[in-house]
């Protein structure tokens, strides 16, 4: 078992407190309507299968859409468990330096978007797109054809349809508090 294409989520912090040089203050923005945008978490295909330039272009594209172009992000890494027969993978995710703390992590699945960038999967034919509602991203069309057109349409299924969509798989989040 394993992932055959890139999967990923936009990562936002909720109730973030940032220090822009004058001490910690509550972040007053609301990037994309979700909170404080800190980057993209992906599976190993999304992290290792993309060039750094590709990953930065994708992330910076969203940052631009959210109006946070000047934000300094870190690149992520994937760590595979070296234990025999283990299939555990860990995405090491680093927060921008200006973040002090936050209350939560909010994830928006963009697998449909990332999969179309996957150099191995190509642009069509490999991403499983079961029926379901599509989440509207910043007012853009939700036509499923856009998934194959590179538009930033975020995929999700409706709760009444198959619960396991072909999106970002997550088993645990680990943070420090």
């Amino acid at each position: 078992m394993g992932s055959c294409h890139a999967e990923g989520v936009l990562v936002f912090l909720t109730d973030a407190v940032v220090d822009l040089g004058a001490g910690p203050v509550a972040y007053t923005g609301n990037d994309g309507g979700f909170g404080y945008f800190v980057g993209i978490a992906g599976n190993n295909e999304a992290i290792d299968g993309f060039s750094e330039a590709q990953k930065e272009a994708i992330r910076d594209g969203f940052a631009s859409d959210f109006g946070v172009v000047g934000r300094v992000f870190y690149n992520n890494e994937t760590e595979l468990d070296p234990s025999p027969n283990s299939t555990r993978a860990t995405t090491l995710f680093y927060l921008p330096d200006e973040v002090v703390y936050a209350a939560g992590v909010l994830l928006v699945d963009i697998t449909g978007y990332l999969a179309n960038y996957d150099p191995e999967a190509g642009n069509s034919g490999t991403y499983f797109t079961p029926g379901g509602s599509l989440f509207t991203y910043t007012g853009k069309t939700t036509d499923i054809s856009d998934l194959l057109m590179g538009d930033k349409v975020l995929y999700t299924s409706s709760p009444s349809i198959g619960r396991n969509t072909d999106g970002f798989d997550l088993d645990a989040i680990e943070v420090y508090k």
């Binding site: 090491l92 927060l95 994830l107 699945d109 198959g162 619960r163 396991n164 798989d169 420090y176």
Partner: protein
């Protein structure tokens, strides 16, 4: 600053980071992930059984997930979005150490 205090604690306590896991409204105690059989796929009949194996849990149940948004901890895409927070309102910190990943997303692939 309170969070710097926590950060210092976190750095000195690196071996015991806190874990956020999928939570159920009726199961918020420490212990293995409670599996929920709601469809052939989710019950492991059609795949992903290892994700439902308690042996693959990475720690303790110590946080909650907003009920109803994402009932299935391995399927973020099964909802429009999903938010994870600590149940006691505790915040988590930017550790501010380049050697430490502030957030680790783990999956059994």
């Amino acid at each position: 600053m309170l969070c710097q205090y926590y950060t210092i604690l976190a750095i000195f306590n690196q071996s015991e980071p806190k874990y956020i896991f999928r939570g159920d409204a009726d199961d918020h105690s420490e212990g293995p992930v409670k599996t929920v059989s709601v469809s052939p796929f989710d019950s492991g009949i059609n795949g992903h059984p290892e994700r439902l194996d308690p042996e693959n849990v990475y720690g303790q149940f110590d946080a909650t997930q907003i009920t109803g948004i994402n009932e299935y901890f391995f399927g973020v895409a099964s909802r429009e979005w999903v938010e994870y927070t600590f149940d006691d309102g505790t915040r988590f910190c930017n550790v501010e150490d380049p050697e430490i990943a502030d957030i680790r997303f783990r999956e059994v692939i």
